[in-house]
Symmetry: C2
Subunit: 325 residues, 2 copies
């Protein structure tokens, strides 16, 4: 039997970096939703399988919009696998494999293609899985569409919804590294752009966290902390309060941001960090900490998305921290 | 546990309509193979799951190379789902669902997008399955990358390899309809192009055939009969003899081909038919026929790919029937 989600009728849809001139992102999603049925917000679609769940996700990346000019072909390959594995990680699932459909411009150098696939191979191997298959054809613009499959037991699966007021809001790793990387590329500091160009999906952390029973909701923060908080809040019907001074700011941010405000923007607004954002039952935070390194950055509240900074609460909009608001 | 194929180490890779100026299709595949490990030829990748197999396939289609100008948006959507479901059908598997990653040009009309997704929805519903999820972003050229998942028991799964000399070579439906459609579009006879624009994946037939135990090998003929015969022969280590007068020629071919040679070219060379090409144990052909309508078009032989026509045997090259050879 297939379920499109665990409780509601709905499918999972991602929107990445859309800039639709006339359409507008929201009307496009609502149109797709109208045609296909209800929409479920999660990192992966879920299929029931003998008491376990199969989770599956797909993500299409394009040369112009997704791969910075400075990315090496190996990094292009790595990124293409990593973004999909991160969605598997966000469900607490173990990856079963990756498929890669690639559209390659006919004039592409053979070594360039080889290095892309080396990057894909190295990324899947580093995360304990493999390339199962794929499809290649000629395309005007380099386009790589990855699909990742994973498996997780019913008891362990983690969803975006599930947070309750009082739960601790946590993140893996540090935040803002990808945002700092974007600025680094602009000013020629490629040494500070590695977090952006070689994102590390938190596969082991996701599996370990799912095994604790302490986590109530989880997603990856690939669209930046602000948007992710709103998505998590919407899915779970809660709000969140983030304590500014607890945010684990990435080293690259400290190296390159010219002010605290700029650093905060890198954390909140820039996409590409691929950390896990999760809520943990307060009485079980020690169990969660045994699974992997975590930083508590705030907690789930009844309503609103708030940043507590220098003693005052500022609302965080979907677009991030807004100056003067 | 994951296996990349049933017996050998290998992944599944498709190449569709490549025209690589400098690279060349073969060197590109061999490069990908070198990087990723052995290559297995099949319509889907296979993952072991509790005694069953999960089969999964992905296929990226582009506006310029894959969708004829005359295709309606509904047909674009239908085709995008159908090509993937056909690969599931070829393994004898039951579809579990489809994911759709789409790159949509920002200037696209909202109704156009709506109709694409209606086509996708109608195709998956018509074949007993559903859209599980997807991803949408802005892209210069309309690009739709579908992924289909299916499930089949270990006893039933059908592969490209498995044919033995003496087995009967069979096809579902009729052949050449897509090739005739290509010509129809060129000469403004869109009424004869429906088979090309609305391919019908043989999902029910594939499941029923897999249940008979009579089928020894199967694939879809989406690249035309000639190439498919070579692929089936290569996978199974046999040859094939096709009897020209037994080929079920599509109505559209009869309506539009100007000679028998042209009709044969449409059958052998043109891609897009999406019928199932299979081999059946001779003593069980009646069982196979109970599963679905089949036409016996020849048999597996020790070696070589041959067309028997007017009493003589002509070799069929990978590119199809060659005049005067």
């Amino acid at each position: 039997m297939i379920i499109r989600s665990l409780e509601t009728e709905g499918f999972v849809w991602g929107i990445s970096g859309m800039r639709f001139s006339d359409i507008g992102e929201r009307s496009l999603i609502s149109k797709i939703t109208e045609v296909l049925g209800g929409l479920e917000h999660d990192d992966c679609a879920v299929v029931e399988l003998d008491g376990d769940y199969l989770v599956v996700t797909t993500d299409m990346l394009h040369r112009e919009t997704d791969f910075p000019d400075q990315a090496t072909p190996w990094q292009i390959g790595w990124m293409s696998a990593a973004v999909n594995l991160s969605d598997i990680a966000a469900m607490g699932a173990e990856p079963l494999g990756v498929l890669i459909a690639s559209g390659i411009p006919p004039e592409t150098d053979l070594e360039f293609v080889e290095e892309i696939f080396e990057g894909i191979r190295d990324c899947v191997k580093a995360h304990g899985t493999e390339v199962l298959g794929g499809d290649t054809d000629a395309h005007r613009e380099l386009t790589i569409c990855g699909t990742a499959l994973g498996r997780v037991s019913r008891e362990r699966i983690l969803r975006r919804r599930g947070a309750r007021p009082g739960d601790l809001l946590c993140t893996t790793g540090s935040l803002g590294g990808a945002g700092a990387g974007l600025k680094a590329l602009k000013i020629g500091r490629i040494d500070l752009a590695r977090r952006l160009l070689e994102p590390c999906p938190r596969v082991r952390e996701g599996i370990a966290l799912a095994g604790t029973g302490a986590v109530t909701a989880m997603m990856d923060n690939s669209d930046g902390l602000a948007l992710s908080l709103h998505d998590l809040a919407e899915a779970g019907g809660t709000g969140f309060l983030v304590e500014c001074e607890r945010i684990p700011i990435a080293e690259e941010v400290r190296a390159i941001a010219e002010s605290d405000d700029e650093a905060l923007e890198m954390v909140l607004r820039a996409g590409g960090d691929f950390e896990l954002l999760l809520t943990v039952r307060e009485d079980m935070i020690d169990d969660a900490r045994k699974a992997c390194e975590l930083t508590v950055i705030g907690r789930a509240v009844e309503t609103g998305i708030w940043l507590e900074r220098d003693g005052s609460r500022i609302p965080i909009s979907r677009r991030g921290y807004e100056h003067g608001s």
